[in-house]
């Protein structure tokens, strides 16, 4: 019997789900359909969080028509999808897509232009500024949402071609503290383990992460693990009792910014009860302080922890003393403990130290190097790890995540790139001095008339700093006065400040590699063409390279096929980093094209399957030939932190300083910020999906019910939330899931008086330069009773012509 079109679609989807569920399907009638409703399935990655879910997009003609999970996936196991990913097609086909270059005229209006006009203007300005103000006057600000090939190309263009390290990216705002934490504690960036540790763990410590809303697929894995194994213990430590706590055995509340005392308190409790792994500490631990150069004795560490009694911790953090004891026991007594954290730890004035203290807990309990045990920092963006951290597209790094200040590595990269031959900078070298981190970069950005601002131009891709920078009011004027180029798919607040706006291709319109939190690089194939004149970033970078006289440096600049450009850029990148511990030499483009699961580094050759667990002999291929990577590993070492001469992980003495903004009688509340499930970042995509926009059409402020009673505020009332930097006008949501004195505001709303970063503190971590989004001192005053909110606000094409934010 001939099937109807709709029945055919349903049978196709059902058959795929049956495979995912591992049950035999009776939906084999699909072959009888007379109509092709999906011409081909194209493999790719979801781009709406850092998990790296593997998907197939269904294509008919030049349209995306379907999406399914990849049942072979190692990330979204069994190919399950979440609500954000399933709606991504509305972004690709949205009528608001930017489709033509725009140049701002003398009256402040963005006018359509040709690509040649836009690129000619960029060339003229860049050359003019290079000559007049020096090579560091022109910056690149990238994103954890660009592909690896794109980030690598821009990074090479700037550092190798211009001799300037004025390259940074939005991972500075989310992951920099984790990077510095891994580097200082273990000697090498990124986790030792993988998502596969979730199902092998006995205790999971979730800290500074609202996993249920920020990484729903990973939360599902955690919840499922708990459901299947009721003895597994889950601890959630965060200021708000979110949905994540629904699966927890223990919720540890803490006042924002104070949890360093909790971690030290747990360590004290573990040692006091003799639960620590003495052999592991002796073999693989090293007590130290400050920058890690001076080795101390174990007794120094024990003495340092004396202050952190459960009672002290309770007083400092608001976390009950009994919870500290219980958490310490769960953490130490399990056979394998996995910690996972995200922005709650990283976006802090003491984010690096917070990371160090989590690593301390793992070192003293021997929780690395075995299945189910790891200290795992989750990323918020799909390619913050692969594209920015691993390619070294930050102001202080080179490919392989090694510092520009490292002369040996700098010399190698100069040689590999042919800098002496190709650079347009007379120095003919990579600058040994790091460039500016994000907050400093935008503080230094301004017009030609402003002699105090040395940065005169910036090109920004796939990111929205005019909404995301902390204390953002400080930076908007500079962005408007300088020569700013924005590459994006939609109008944004940053595009509103731009001199030139370049329309970008979406991931499924160009393809490329994303590397997710678990060191896994996965290639997305191009599925459909970009709308109008939108172009891939790598093409844009190539055009700039050609016009700046750097065609030979960027060997793919003259290619016309984006796929070929991607391949050449990728192969150049994996060649550059082949002799680092982040090697993906075996993950050739050809291999990634074929692979349906991607490859985890280190992967030194094509026969290597990729690495699930680092630092362990028999699992980590670096042990097979350490000299190739510049390391010495004793032949009898089963586990070794090879990026350090001594092979040990640092147990840091870190106190709990009050570096964050402090409350005062005038500003008595602590405000913390974050995501909600249906929205992502500044809402430029998710606010354009009606259903997700409808779920949270505007921002709000969560206030503890006791605080609300004291302030005589009712649910829905409109209040002014104000810091010394600025204010928001927000409706109130009264909750009982926070400690008193703590309020929460989401970050996705684009409406000027609800953009929370006008309020946020711009204190940065002294080591990582990551801002302290999680702790700002504010006051709350009632404005009115409940009233209609101008929700679902989006920056429109028309608003891009306005000087002020409405």
């Amino acid at each position: 019997m001939e099937m109807s079109r709709r029945n055919f679609i349903k049978s196709t989807l059902a058959a795929s789900a049956a495979v995912a569920a591992g049950i035999s399907t009776t939906s084999n009638a699909v072959a009888q359909s007379q109509e092709v409703v999906i011409e081909r399935w194209v493999k790719g990655v979801c781009r709406l969080c850092g998990t790296g879910c593997s998907v197939y997009v269904g294509v008919k003609g030049d349209r995306l028509v379907a999406m399914k999970g990849n049942v072979e996936s190692m990330t979204n196991t069994r190919g399950y999808l979440c609500v954000k990913g399933m709606n991504i097609w509305k972004v690709a086909h949205h009528p608001d897509r930017l489709t033509k270059p725009l140049i701002r005229d003398g009256k402040g209006v963005l006018r359509p232009a040709s690509w040649d006009q836009a690129l000619t203007l960029i060339e003229k300005k860049f050359k003019q500024f290079h000559k007049k103000y020096g090579y560091d006057s022109v910056a690149y600000y990238g994103s954890g949402q660009c592909t690896t090939e794109e980030s690598y190309t821009f990074n090479k263009l700037w550092k190798g071609g211009f001799g300037s390290n004025m390259v940074d990216g939005n991972p500075r705002l989310c992951m920099a503290s984790a990077v510095a934490g891994y580097m200082s504690s273990l000697g090498s960036d990124e986790p030792a383990g993988a998502y596969a540790d979730i199902e092998k763990s006995e205790t999971i410590f979730l800290v500074g992460s609202n996993l249920s809303e920020a990484h729903p697929i990973l939360f599902r894995r955690v919840a499922r693990h708990k459901k299947d194994n009721p003895n597994v213990k889950i601890i959630v430590c965060e200021p708000r009792k979110t949905l994540t706590s629904a699966v927890a055995d223990l919720w540890m509340p803490s006042l924002p910014g104070t949890d360093l005392a909790i971690f030290n308190g747990m360590a004290r409790e573990i040692i006091k009860n003799n639960w620590h792994d003495k052999e592991y500490v002796k073999t693989l631990g090293r007590v130290t302080i400050g920058d890690g150069s001076k080795e101390l004795a174990w007794a120094d560490y024990v003495k340092h922890l004396e202050k952190y009694t459960p009672q002290y911790v309770e007083k400092k953090t608001g976390c009950p003393a009994a919870d500290v004891k219980a958490a310490a026991k769960m953490f130490a007594k399990s056979k394998a403990t996995l910690s996972m954290w995200c922005m709650g730890l990283n976006q802090r004035a003491n984010g690096v130290w917070a990371n160090n203290l989590i690593h301390n807990l793992h070192i003293i309990t021997g929780n690395y190097g075995k299945p189910g045990a790891d200290a795992f920092s989750l990323t918020g963006q799909p390619n913050a790890c692969g594209g920015v951290r691993e390619t070294g597209s930050l102001a202080h790094l080179l490919p392989g995540a090694k510092p520009v200040a490292n002369k040996k590595w700098r010399t190698f990269v100069e040689g590999y790139w042919g800098v002496a031959k190709h650079s347009i900078n007379p120095s003919k070298a990579i600058n040994p001095k790091p460039g500016m981190h994000a907050v400093k970069l935008f503080s230094s950005l301004g017009g030609e008339k402003d002699k105090t601002k040395p940065v005169k131009a910036v090109i920004m891709s796939t990111t929205n700093p005019a909404q995301t920078l902390p204390n953002v009011n400080k930076f908007i004027g500079g962005m408007q006065d300088a020569f700013t180029v924005v590459i994006d798919i939609f109008p944004t607040r940053t595009a509103q400040c731009a001199s030139v706006v370049l329309p970008a291709a979406f991931i499924y319109e160009k393809g490329g590699v994303f590397g997710c939190s678990e060191r896994r690089s996965f290639l997305t194939d191009k599925a459909v063409n970009a709308p109008g004149e939108a172009k891939a970033d790598i093409w844009i970078a190539a055009q700039i390279a050609k016009r700046m006289g750097l065609t030979k440096l960027i060997g793919w600049a003259n290619e016309t096929s984006i796929d070929r450009m991607n391949e050449l850029a990728w192969n150049d990148y994996i060649g550059c980093t082949a002799n680092t511990e982040k090697t993906l030499k075996g993950a050739t483009y050809k291999r990634l094209k074929k692979s349906t699961v991607g490859v985890q580094w280190p992967c030194p050759d094509e026969k290597n399957p990729g690495t699930y667990k680092r630092y362990v002999r028999g699992m980590d291929p670096i042990f097979d030939n350490p000299k190739r990577y510049g390391y010495t590993i004793p032949a009898d070492a089963k586990e070794f932190f090879y990026a350090r001469p001594h092979g040990k992980a640092n147990i840091f003495l870190r106190d709990d300083p009050d570096n964050s903004e402090q409350t005062s009688p005038a500003y008595p509340f602590i405000m913390t910020t974050g995501r909600v499930l249906e929205q992502w970042h500044t809402g430029s995509m998710t606010m354009r999906i009606p259903e997700t926009a409808a779920a949270h059409p505007h921002s709000f402020v969560e206030i503890n019910e006791k605080d609300a009673n004291r302030l005589k505020i009712k649910n829905g009332d409109i209040v002014k939330v104000e810091s010394v930097r600025g204010y928001n006008i927000l409706p109130v949501k009264i909750v009982n899931n926070t400690l008193e004195g703590v309020i929460f505001v989401p970050m996705h709303d684009q409406k000027a008086d609800r953009m929370v970063n006008f309020i946020c503190s711009d204190i940065v971590d002294p080591k990582s330069a990551e801002p302290d989004y999680k702790v700002s001192a504010v006051k709350i005053t009632k404005v009115s009773g409940p009233k209609k909110i101008d929700g679902r606000y989006l920056v429109s094409r028309q608003e891009m012509n306005k000087k002020t934010f409405s």
């Binding site: 789900a17 399907t25 008919k60 995306l64 779920a695």
Partner: protein, 103 residues
């Protein structure tokens, strides 16, 4: 129309009770099943994602359900209508739809 396949895991002793619940959902069809393993493959046909979300919440709220997870979605008809101008992605059509309450 949007068509979505999902995998539902249930307490296998309650299959009959669950089945009658599913049959009460007009947009939901059972395509495959493994009762011993406590798994069903469902296909859900909805006008839009908002309707789909309501169904998802209904399943998540059902005590007989252990897990309910999406696997694939076909939105081709909506894309065609969108590109052909028959529907708009704007906010006019969601004004009256449910949003998350403030409490």
């Amino acid at each position: 129309m949007i068509f979505t396949s999902a995998v539902l895991e249930f307490h296998k002793d309650s299959y009959k009770e669950l089945l009658s619940f599913i049959e009460s959902q007009s947009q939901v069809e059972v395509y495959d099943k493994d009762i011993d393993a406590g798994k069903l493959v469902l296909v859900i046909s909805t006008e839009d994602d908002a309707e789909l979300e309501v169904i998802q919440k209904t399943f998540h709220a059902n005590k007989l359900v252990i897990d309910f997870t999406y696997h694939a979605i076909h939105f081709g008809e909506s894309v065609d209508k969108l590109i052909d101008g028959e529907i708009k992605i704007d906010f006019e059509d969601i004004n009256n739809k449910k949003k998350n309450k403030l409490q």
